[in-house]
Subunit: 247 residues, 2 copies
DNA sequence: TATATTTACTGACTGGTGGTCAGTTAATAA
DNA sequence: TTATTAACTGACCACCAGTCAGTAAATATA
């Protein structure tokens, strides 16, 4: 009896149509200005139907973000790291993330909202948990390569792969976010060229950061940190020790 | 004739009262759930009066953020870097930022909203420009120390002080934001302990990042990058070159 | 086939909120 | 005493997220 399956398929299609329309409208109008009426109209569906699929406006928005993250994960998987060098893989993943931010710029901008705790609180637990799962899926995927590098002895191991991945994510994502912000402000003419954010070439900075992050991981742990706590309260700055030995 | 001055003072006080009330309400209810009626009531002022001082809800919110940034700048200035070592100053500034995120956690959370381009577009140019100015003031303040370190030859100079400051900001701020997010999710019970974000101790990570960022700046530029573009497309990974020379 | 039940969907309606503005009050100027 | 200006008020409007009684169609039952 394929009726149940067909119904399920149709339900998913409806959901997909709504998500598609929402993506367009949220992108065009922004989170605040977009209205559900408009989304309903664009999806050729009544407003009530939207609420059959999503518990609230925020849930709909978060579902879009989850979809975005899944796409990002797909792009990461498409990197196809056939060569075994984890450092190269990390480079390629960072490249892929830059590409994602450019090609799917509306999705990328939407993802920045997750940073905002005020919005997060309005979301139902399941949807929030879905997003968390997708987010963790990406981080775990990347962490796998980092861990492999550590196991192979290529990467330093005075830092956990989890911490390393967070560092990667935070730095690269932060640069891309600031880039978007500076672009937005330039468009609004409220960014002076002599300001710091206005004067930095974020694409160049991204490349540099990408380089140094991988480089940081490929260094051996020569610092005087025996454990983690040593990094916590660094009273003594060893400003010349390294530089001298390197000369 | 001190009448004009007195009026101006009173006007500023009114504004201050509104901001104070708004801060409380926005913090208690979140950006979306907070209402102007409630703010008006708490400020002992009619709703119309709010609009004499702020053009919109978003403007009010952004003004709060600007105030928050000015407080942060004050905390940075209080670091009183009497010792001339720029590396130590950067440490202390990072410590101060951590302190800010802890002691003024609601202000810190509010500042994360600036990352969201969808909100930024709803704000009047002047207010947006105020915020930008405050933000730039902080970055410029920090950049001064970085530049001094470079001039003194303590810091590497294959990266501009502007870029270095952005890197600092992005990394440290990103870690603290993720920390807040993980705390919020733990409170909502939608963060599995085995997930990456759930397993990282962000305070430790912050300390490590703080350490490595300063350390990165105090390294000499031994890499094969002659200019910036070299960092853009790094095809060759020099995974052992540094580690070997350091041994 | 006729009837009952379930499922999917609709769109008018409601409550609440951001934002407005005609009108009030009070201080100052003429 | 009267006119003018400035600060402030709160009733009011437009709009929108979210609801729910009702419709239509598909499926199950008789």
């Amino acid at each position: 009896m394929g009726i149940v399956e067909r119904k399920e398929r149709e339900k998913q299609m409806r959901r997909e149509m709504i998500l598609q329309a929402a993506e367009t409208v949220f992108f065009e109008k922004g989170l605040r200005a977009a209205t559900l009426d408009e989304i309903a109209e664009k999806a050729e569906v009544s407003k009530g139907t939207i609420y059959l699929h999503f518990a609230s406006r925020e849930d709909l928005y978060y579902s879009l973000m989850t979809r975005g993250l899944l796409l990002l994960l797909k792009m990461f998987r498409d990197v196809k790291p056939e060569d075994a060098d984890p450092a190269k893989v990390l480079y390629k993943l960072a490249d892929a993330y830059l590409k994602f931010s450019q090609e799917q710029s509306y999705l990328f901008k939407m993802l920045a909202v997750v940073e905002n705790p005020a919005v997060s609180e309005q979301v139902s637990p399941e949807v929030s948990s879905d997003l968390e799962e997708a987010s963790d899926g990406i981080l775990t995927y990347v962490a796998g390569f980092v861990q492999r590098g550590m196991d192979d002895g290529i990467f330093r191991s005075d830092i956990s792969s989890h911490e390393a991945v967070i560092l990667f994510w935070v730095s690269l994502n932060g640069i891309l976010n600031l880039k978007e912000r500076s672009l937005a402000m330039k468009k609004n003419n409220c960014l002076k060229a002599e300001s710091i954010i206005g004067s930095v070439d974020f694409d160049v900075l991204y490349g540099m950061c990408q380089h140094y992050l991988v480089d940081f991981l490929t260094q051996e742990e020569t610092r005087k940190l025996s454990g983690r706590n040593a990094a916590r309260k660094p009273k003594v700055v060893q400003k010349h020790s390294k530089a001298v030995t390197q000369k």
